[in-house]
């Protein structure tokens, strides 16, 4: 869906982005992760040509993005900004209608689409359509910002720190909301963040950047258990343990679990095979049962704190 090849950007003599290449498949989310100055935002903005690349190529659906008129290209790509960028002189409905209007949609179609999006994002159309952005909370503004990006049904969404301006509580609740949104599940998304937890929560692939170039690109688990180079190894720092727990699911450590008779732990708790180790850990630490029963296919196994730690140790030993 999106192919980026050898993309570079020089500002005067300094390279902001050096030779970046990646591919995002349809329906996947790629997170560009890095500290400020790592070149992640510049990379994102080169995809919709808010910044023109110095060299390299971008293909969208097999089409050379640099060959299209920039405005036409941008109208086919949803764009969500950290500070939402809503037009203060437009109502919520007018803000959402911007791109459909630019594309020359029928008035009725636009109205229907606006209503649909507002409902989807839990903003009552009757109440919110005619409000101005300043009359909304930060979380509501961000939702309108997302609705505006989705309005014209673009297959691709670019998100630049979309939750960056929100307080931590709003941030995680809106993130959960986004994750559940059907419309977003179908989109091909490139998202910029400096928040590691967010990257792991949302990314199918994480592209770790530093000093303008890619340090490692891969699934969250690959980044954790198979770091390439010192930067990748050190990047997660003190959060590593938690991230590992959060990125591994019970199925990932299935071989290390102890077999059990399906009936033997009737009275103890059960866990789902797709639960993350972090969730299991939290349940086991809460002071309830010491072991949980897990079923996979026709097999039944048990999991305990001890088993989790042992399997992690072995897993890292093997992979590393």
């Amino acid at each position: 869906m999106i192919i980026v090849q050898n993309l570079s950007k020089f500002f005067q003599q300094t390279a902001a982005v050096k030779n970046v290449s990646f591919e995002v498949k349809q329906g996947e989310t790629l997170v560009l992760l890095g500290t400020s100055g790592s070149g992640k935002t510049t990379t994102l903005r080169m995809i919709n040509r808010l910044i023109e690349p110095s060299s390299g190529e971008v293909f969208i659906n097999g089409q050379n993005a640099l060959a299209l008129p920039a405005e036409v290209l941008r109208r086919s790509i949803g764009y969500v900004l950290q500070s939402n960028g809503l037009f203060p002189h437009y109502t919520v409905a007018e803000n959402i209608s911007i791109v459909p209007k630019l594309l020359g949609w029928e008035k009725n179609t636009i109205q229907a689409r606006v209503r649909e999006l507002l409902v989807e994002l839990h903003l009552d159309p009757k109440d919110y359509s005619n409000r101005y952005p300043r009359e909304l909370s930060g979380g509501q503004q961000q939702r309108v910002g997302l609705a505006r990006a989705l309005a014209a049904n673009p297959p691709i969404l670019l998100m630049d720190e979309p939750f960056g301006a929100l307080d931590p509580v709003t941030r995680s609740s809106i993130r959960m909301e986004f994750l559940r949104l059907d419309e977003l599940k179908r989109k091909t998304i490139v998202m910029v963040t400096h928040d590691i937890e967010e990257a792991f929560a949302l990314g199918d692939q994480i592209c770790l950047m530093d000093g303008g170039s890619i340090k490692q690109i891969g699934t969250p688990a690959e980044l954790l258990f198979n770091p390439e180079g010192d930067f990748s190894r050190d990047f997660f720092g003190s959060e590593r343990a938690v991230l590992e727990m959060k990125s591994l699911r019970i199925t990932n450590i299935w071989p290390y679990l102890e077999s059990a008779e399906p009936d033997s732990l009737k009275n103890s708790g059960q866990a789902d095979k797709d639960e993350t180790l972090w969730m299991v850990l939290q349940r086991l630490s809460a002071g309830g049962p010491q072991r949980l029963l897990v079923r996979k296919d026709n097999e039944a196994k048990t999991i305990s704190l001890e088993i989790i730690f042992r399997s992690l140790k072995q897993l890292k030993g093997i992979v590393a």
Binding site: L50, A70, V72, R74, Y79, N84, L86, P88, H89, Y90
Partner: protein
């Protein structure tokens, strides 16, 4: 104009003129404003896009703003002559800075994220400008237009200096004539205009950003309509006269020309500083000037004989506080040294040297005194300080210097000169309020402008210089405690002037000749 009428009477009597001037004033204000918006806004948009130009452009606009308006008017005369065009150009320059600066600030002040979002959604540059930048900057742009409007209402009064019309005609006429009602007849409408426009524009500006759509429509239409108020007066085929504001309102000026001579010449109001040059450059055909002005000589002008004596004698003499003369009798003797020593032609020549040859009044005064054998080195005494005032024109500066040199050379007094005190009213008020001790005044001015005697008195003695002198001497002494010392000799009276060439070609020698010529060609 025998007695000061009440303000209300003045308004009733002159309402047509006030209305006329107000309409001209509004027109001047808004034509220049319109030009400034048409030219300033694109400039501001340009410098908002290319920030490296911003400092230079805003700097130049700011410099224009710091040039005193009268000076800016002066610069415009060689380029655009007199009348409406230079006035509009000056007002345009004054309106330019607030409009450019506010539009620039408004556009650059927009949150970068909004512009980024607009671009990211695929809006073109033009769409971003008209749908995002201008609407969002509109309150700030309107504030600039509001500022410019109020500035222009004020500065437009100065248009009267260069025959541009407007409420300045009454204001400057009133100041020159010591006629408070006339000043107010110009000042009150001007103030009302400023307050009204400020209020209305404030209303539009205070609308919520989302409401500016309407304002964007209303405003240009209103400005266009108001600009239309100004119909540039077309120059007739006949002779055109230029009179300074003071002349327009005096019975020994324009009013006398009308009543005594029945002279019906189309005229414009213009400042004395540019009047002679305008005549010389064929922008005007007749002016009411001063008979000792140096430019008479420089521009080869002739005066028309006042065959029905409407212009009273204007013999210059020191007007001094009587208290001071009693305290220091030697002062009177000293100032009398110059009595009768300066003839008309001598004064014209002195004025010529300062006004045209640009020599300093001090130098010209010293040379003159040396030639007359009256110059003495200053004694540098400090017995007391004598404060000499002076109106704001060349001849007064020379006379002030002459007084100073005489006092410093012949007495132990030191002298402080307070030059450029504006017109008669300001000098006279300064003298009666004991802010100055003396200034050179003209008998006719004292008689008609300050004393304003009844018509019967004016008619009976106006043609006799000695009678007029005796009258002012007595009246000033009893009414104000001021003393007229002996006149210096010359008579700087009003006179109608024409180019030498025209006067001889048309065979005009007297004002009656001029009247007959105009009536014949009307």
């Amino acid at each position: 104009m025998n007695e000061q009428q009440s303000l209300w009477q003045f308004f009733l009597l002159h309402w047509d003129k006030i209305l006329d001037q107000t309409i001209t004033h509004i027109g001047l204000t808004f034509i220049s404003l319109l030009l400034a918006v048409i030219i300033g806004t694109p400039i501001a948009i340009l410098i908002a896009r290319r920030r490296n130009l911003a400092t230079a452009v805003l700097g130049v606009a700011a410099i224009m703003q710091t040039i005193p308006s009268v000076a800016l008017l002066g610069f415009m005369i060689p380029l655009f002559g007199i009348g409406t065009v230079p006035a509009i150009v000056v007002l345009f320059f004054y309106a330019l800075l607030p409009i450019i600066r506010n539009t620039f600030t408004g556009i650059t002040g927009i949150d970068e994220a909004i512009r980024d979002a607009a671009k990211g959604m695929g809006m073109t540059d033009k769409q971003i400008l008209f749908k995002v930048e201008i609407p969002l900057a509109m309150p700030v742009i309107l504030a600039g237009i509001r500022t410019a409007t109020v500035i222009n209402v004020g500065v437009a009064t100065l248009a009267a200096y260069i025959a541009g019309g407007g409420l300045g005609e009454f204001i400057f006429g009133g100041i020159a004539l010591n006629n408070t009602n006339m000043i107010l007849a110009g000042a009150i409408p001007a103030a009302l205009l400023a307050i009204t426009f400020d209020f209305l524009l404030g209303k539009i500006q205070k609308q919520k950003p989302e409401g500016t759509g309407k304002a964007m429509l209303v405003l240009p239409i209103a400005v266009l309509l108001l600009s239309g108020f100004y119909i540039i007066p077309s120059a007739g085929t006949n002779l055109l006269a230029g009179f300074e504001p003071e002349f327009m309102g005096r019975s020994d000026g324009y009013l006398g020309l009308k009543s005594r001579y029945n002279l019906n010449i189309s005229s414009v109001v213009i400042n004395d500083a540019v009047m002679y040059e305008a005549l010389y450059e064929n922008k005007l055909d007749v002016i009411g000037g001063y008979s000792t002005d140096g430019r008479l000589k420089a521009y080869d002008l002739v005066t028309l004989k006042d065959d029905k004596t409407i212009f009273p004698p204007y013999f210059a003499a020191p007007l001094v506080r009587t208290d001071l003369l009693k305290e220091y009798p030697e002062l009177e003797a000293t100032l009398n040294l110059i009595a009768g020593k300066i003839t008309d032609s001598a004064m014209t020549d002195l004025n010529y040297q300062t006004d045209i040859l640009k020599r300093t009044p001090e130098l010209v005064a010293r040379e003159f005194l040396k030639a007359k054998g009256l110059y003495k080195r200053p004694q540098n005494g400090n017995k007391a300080t004598i404060r000499i005032g002076c109106k704001i024109f060349g001849e007064q500066y020379i006379l002030t210097e002459i007084y100073r040199m005489l006092i410093e050379g012949n007495t132990a007094f030191s002298v402080e000169t307070k030059t450029g005190l504006g017109g008669t009213k300001i000098c006279f008020d300064a003298l009666t309020n004991n802010q100055i001790d003396l200034y050179p005044e003209y008998t006719g001015t004292g008689f008609l402008v300050i004393l304003q005697p009844p018509t019967s008195v004016v008619d009976s003695i106006i043609s006799d210089p000695d009678e007029v002198f005796r009258y002012v001497q007595t009246e000033f002494s009893s009414k104000y405690g001021l003393t007229w010392l002996k006149p210096m000799g010359f008579n700087n009276t009003y006179a109608l002037m024409m180019r030498q060439q025209d006067a001889s070609a048309l065979q005009l020698k007297t004002i009656t000749d001029l009247k007959n010529y105009i009536d014949k060609n009307d």
